[in-house]
Amino acid sequence: MGTQYFKGTKTLTRFIFRQQRFKILVWLISLTVITLSVAAAYPSIYKDEQSRQAASFTMDNPAMIAMLGPGYEIDEYVNSVGAMFANEMLLFTAIAVGIMSILLVGRTTRADEEDGRIEMIRALSVGRLSYASAAMIVIVSTNILLAVLIGVGLASLGIEGIGVEGSFLYGAILGATGLVFAALTAIFAQASETSRGTTMFSFMALIIAYLIRAIGDVSSEALSWLSPLGWTVRTGVFAGNDWWPVIVSFVFALVVGFVAFYLQSIRDLGSGFIAARKGRKNASAFLQTSLGLTFRLQRTNIIAWAIGLFLLSSSFGAILGDLEAYFADIEFMEAFIEAESDYSLTEQFLTLLMAIMSLISLIPAVMVILKLKGEETKNLTENFYSRAVSRTRVLGSHFFLAVVVSFIMQSLVALGLWSVSGSVMDEPLSFVTTFSSAYVYLPAIWVVVALTILLVGAVPKLTGVVWLYVVYCFVVVYLGDLLDFPVWMNNLSVFSYIPQIPIDDMNVMTMGVLTLIAIGLSVIGFTGYNKRDIAG
């Protein structure tokens, strides 16, 4: 039975590793470098007990708990800069590791199968489960390697408050969380017939896990226990150092992984457990338009993002009520956050929230444009360009759709926050404030969308660069103040120019200039696209 199922696993492991080594390397290096450089910066940010005390007050409120996890006791923060570090970094790093695992597993299981690569390999003398086992060995090794790198790295920094046990626990829980999402993705790869479906279900699981944990951490601990990310934040790294969440995650990943293997062994190659539906005999009038087709091909993706963003912003809306009550209780808190008396603390919190949510809305808008490049790689654009359809028209449909998507996403973000917070707050956010604080980010989103157009049109080999830029903008918003970036580094992110409504005033000039830049970039993109060879 061994040979029937597992023959050739060793060779395939090496093969998959070679195929994915670049991606794995980039993930491991970026995760390690970001973690270590942030950790190294902490002692200088929180030099003395006083500053730690001050910061710990800002941590201990429902909004922060919902965003980052339950956190620590105040004296734990005061005693250890590590606790502060873990509270701010652990959850989001764990999510990044989850994303890494989802993408890697999605790629090496369903995507390879969908594209027919596994069929070629199955025809050789290898076992039924060899490819899946090899993929799993690669992902498990990657996560273990990550755990060790981060554990050793943190421990070797020798920062007071970031102890050896804590460092290894920090690495281990990241790796274990990665394995949980790897295993879940493996299950979805069995269920869905497409790689898009697989990653979509997996990301949905990640978002749901985050939301359940957020609601649970704020209101009911039992609920948080249902979410793998709830386990992640219950390690008490650098304070209590609980190892059980690592064990629970590991066992969970093992069990789910086994189920995935079982399902893999009983299904046909190329099939999934969720059957495909029958299609229509004719194309609707809407589908026959260029924009209609562009939308139809991305419909599921757009709807999924719309729902996800709405849920995320409504959950933050729900927390705003708690936050307001909390701020009301502790009046002296006002002393810590810049007390611009014109604006409530919730309004100040709103600006940070909007910056982050706008960056998330940016992702589906960029994906709309990148889809065109994906279609070209799959030789699908040939279907347009061998017929009477111009390049400007096709790229234009994608551009238009991306702008509409950015508008819809920002509207949903504002709507979720405004409607839910309105029902739980004593002094609700005003409709105009909430919506304008969301829409003010549109020009920045358009600049990045236009940058994507430029890449797809003029330098198609480098389209991936746009994701680096998006990540860079994230880092600036999330860590820019904390790491005290120089001004020019902040200025590289278009999002830095956006006035933070309601604290800043609306700046029509900036909006106009950004929109003009967006138009300029897209013109270059359109021109390039009309001049270059189309690969397929």
Binding site: L297, E382, Y385, R387, V389
Partner: protein
């Protein structure tokens, strides 16, 4: 009237020259066969004709318009079928056919239904589930249902079963009868022989032969089997004779068509007992061209 005219097309991918001065002319109402070994540059030529690749040098015109700058205009009167049809996995076959027809600007639903029937195609399935041949049918149905004036077909029958192949050939002949032109690239030589009026052969990015099938046949060799009363001395030294084989008393060899007269005169001096001739096979013609001059010479030297 000339529908398609390409002059001196050259295409470089970086340093690699995929096309090197290709000329081509397709006339109205003509089926033009475009053949050559793998990687010769057929698909590259066709992609330039479709305005998807920009020629490094040279120009091509279809209906008198430039293929790069007037692509959209030209495509209103063109139907294209690639050898590897890629479809959007989430759309059904029927939806894709409608889309393709709409993009071509024609909506002949009666023809669409008729072709779906003839090709025995189920349009309600999601494209993801179609087999290779069925994906091919989607493009073929959309192409023949449109009323294009020029059909550009790049290995259109790869993956079709013999029955469907037959229906495809009927469709091409119907198009020809309706006065349309066809550019057909194919590896199936019997198909080319049956359908094409003229043929162009491309090898390593160069057009090495163009002409009607008869003209090309003329360039090839006839197989002769003979028996003579007296043995023939020094046959292999004579011009235009190749691949001599001897079984018992009979001699089999090939003769270049242009040397036929001289060879027959020469061997008749030795008293012919038996003479059989077989017409040149198209297959041989292509093999000779595909393999290139150097190769066939070495084959001749290796014989006898």
């Amino acid at each position: 009237m000339t529908i398609l005219k390409a002059t001196h097309l050259t295409k470089k991918f970086g340093k690699f020259t995929a096309l090197d001065g290709v000329n081509m002319e397709v006339n109205e109402g003509e089926v033009y066969g475009f053949i050559g070994p793998n990687g010769a540059g057929k698909s590259t030529t066709i992609r330039i004709l479709l305005g998807m690749l920009k020629a490094t040098q040279g120009e091509a015109k279809i209906f008198g318009k430039d293929v790069w700058s007037d692509a959209v205009d030209i495509h209103k009167r063109i139907a294209y079928v690639p050898g590897d049809v890629n479809l959007w996995p989430t759309l059904s076959g029927g939806e894709v056919i409608d889309l393709f027809m709409k993009m071509n600007g024609s909506t002949n639903y009666r023809k669409r239904e008729e072709l779906i029937e003839r090709f025995n195609f189920d349009p309600t399935k999601k494209s993801r589930t179609y087999s290779k041949g069925n994906r091919q049918k989607v493009a073929l149905i959309a192409a023949f249902a449109s009323d294009a004036d020029l059909f550009i077909l790049d290995e259109p029958t790869s993956g079709l079963d013999p029955l469907m192949e037959h229906i495809f050939q009927e469709c091409v002949l119907e198009a020809k009868r309706a006065g349309k032109s066809v550019l057909l690239s194919s590896h199936i030589l019997s198909e080319v022989e049956k359908l094409c009026d003229r043929v162009g052969i491309i090898r390593q990015g160069k057009m090495i032969e163009t002409g009607t099938l008869d003209e090309l046949r003329h360039l090839t060799r006839t197989n002769l089997t003979i028996e003579t009363k007296e043995p023939i001395p020094s046959l292999k030294e004579r011009k235009g004779i190749h691949n001599i084989e001897k079984n018992d008393s009979a001699l089999t060899f090939q003769v270049d068509t242009e040397e036929m007269d001289a060879v027959i005169r020469y061997i008749s001096e030795f008293g012919i007992l038996k003479l059989e001739s077989a017409p040149p096979k198209l297959e041989d013609l292509f093999m000779r061209h595909y393999q290139g001059a150097e190769h066939s010479k070495s084959r001749v030297e290796g014989s006898l």
